[in-house]
Amino acid sequence: MEQSSGLKSMQEDTWLSENLSPARVITAVQLKIALKQAQELSLPLRETLLRLRMVKESGLLALYAKHFGMDILNIAEHDYQMVDKSLTRLLPLEFCLKHKVLPVFQIADDESRELTLAVTTPFAQEIIAEVARLTGCRVTPVLTTVAAIEGGIAKLY
């Protein structure tokens, strides 16, 4: 799991560098500047693009949602009221903080256990697989902002 965060970031960087310009989210020149800056600061491309204000996180999530067929969920709505607070027992605080994930809903019956997991990126397959292993649930990821997850963790854990 140590490697999965780095892998997730590399996959995301590659996808962004290949898709943002063709999708006309940023220009090829902006991408070049961002890539150079990311390298100089040793930061992921996503974070660099956000710092340079070349993209907004909401715009990035919308692009991911469209491309990867995922839902965006504003888990911070109504002061995190939609989040099932009892689910903090499922995943340790350290895991949620490190991987920026938060369990939101769980439904279970005799046939299956379904867990809805808030994530910040679609490139979290390994982490989702680990959550499935840890919880014994089938996991459905939903996209949300980093701030929403961090705020949720601070509020609920």
Binding site: D71, L73, E77, H78, Q81, M82, V83, D84, V104, F105, Q106, I107, D109, E114, T116, R138, T140, V142
Partner: protein, 119 residues
């Protein structure tokens, strides 16, 4: 949350208005238990005017669905608002609950179920 209960033939229609959250669950559960006691076992849950649903509201819907099924009845969620439909989708509740796009379709489906298989 406001709960209004009406009849359409043999089918009970429960109209919910407002936020379906933890504080509304007891009232909802009590009302549905009363229906069950009186042997009203075919229920449309109209979610058209529910703007927000939290995990407690979702859990209450799932529990009600299961309870009516257990009594050989049925509960159909009708016309969920966009917000509720999203919650049903991301939780995969829409694969466990019966969900109908309109209230009349839900009523018709339940009337058919209540009438039993045609000979």
């Amino acid at each position: 949350m406001e709960i209004n209960i009406g009849m359409e033939g043999d089918v009970v229609v429960v109209d919910l208005t407002g936020d379906f959250v933890a504080s509304a669950v007891e009232q909802f559960t009590t009302q549905l238990a009363k229906l069950m006691e009186k042997n009203f076992l075919f229920v449309v849950l109209n979610l058209d005017k529910v703007n927000f649903m939290d995990s407690s509201g979702l859990g209450a819907c799932m529990a009600a669905h299961k309870a009516f099924q257990g009594k050989k009845g049925a509960l159909i969620c009708a016309k969920p608002s966009e917000a509720v439909a999203k919650i049903f989708r991301v939780t995969r509740a829409d694969q466990k609950l019966k969900v109908s796009p309109t209230r009349p379709e839900a009523v018709k489906a339940l009337q058919e179920i209540a009438a039993g298989p045609s000979s």
